[in-house]
Symmetry: C2
Subunit: 161 residues, 2 copies
Amino acid sequence: MTAASMFKPDSRLDLVLDRVVDAPVDLLWEAWTTPAHLKHWFVPKPWTITHCEVDLRLGGKFHFVMRSPEGQEFPNTGCFLDIVPKQRLVWTDALLPGYRPSENPFFTAVLTFEPVKSGTRYIATAIHRDEAGRKKHEEMGFHSGWGTVLDQLVVYTKTMR
Amino acid sequence: MTAASMFKPDSRLDLVLDRVVDAPVDLLWEAWTTPAHLKHWFVPKPWTITHCEVDLRLGGKFHFVMRSPEGQEFPNTGCFLDIVPKQRLVWTDALLPGYRPSENPFFTAVLTFEPVKSGTRYIATAIHRDEAGRKKHEEMGFHSGWGTVLDQLVVYTKTMR
């Protein structure tokens, strides 16, 4: 199995957002890996992130708490699986920090960043266990949700320098 | 969280085999990461390994089929999470190759190898989701099973050179 085939999305199981955005790779990477930045763009407004932790190493903690406009909080905890600065970031909620299998595995996220003439080609892939997982994520609004936060991220990068 | 605390076993959830063995680190590493070697020692005899695949990279496949003396086959598929040659090998069945969450997550294995005067300090830690997982693994014979295959591994290394 080559690296390309290992991560080739399966349309039955996976969801993909693939866009070219007007932002440089280095700012996208920084915004993705810094809690103080993540809070500004990582959930579709008016949702907010009330808490975020990033321990950027293999098996390290990725934790965030999303808060609905009604005030309900949704904590998420997972860990990082692969970290290639400014190229690839992989994390999952199937394993807790230190690689402990989690109670409620849902998906693994693979983010890739590639510099192109007009900015960055950004590909976010959500990898699910089964078709039901993919459908659930789709119904939760993967495409509009991840698209909206990418828009927010690009706008946010303009304020970073 | 430091690296040490991230992997500090939790006695309620984890199982640990910690022994100093009369075998050099390089042979233990080679025997652990090569299918042709794994087949010789990886299950307590008279069980056998009928098939084994090792794709030694992050997210790469670790697959083996155990066969009972009665001829029943038990396939296992997981992926590698951390690979520090001759020092640390981490794999899990909670994620399939390419990091897809699996149907039946059971445990993550952390193997560490440390050269000492008389050979190698070998620590195998099995990390479970919950107490029930730890108990099940204990009842399946973790301590005698992993101890037996370590004995087999040490004997096998004598034939490798």
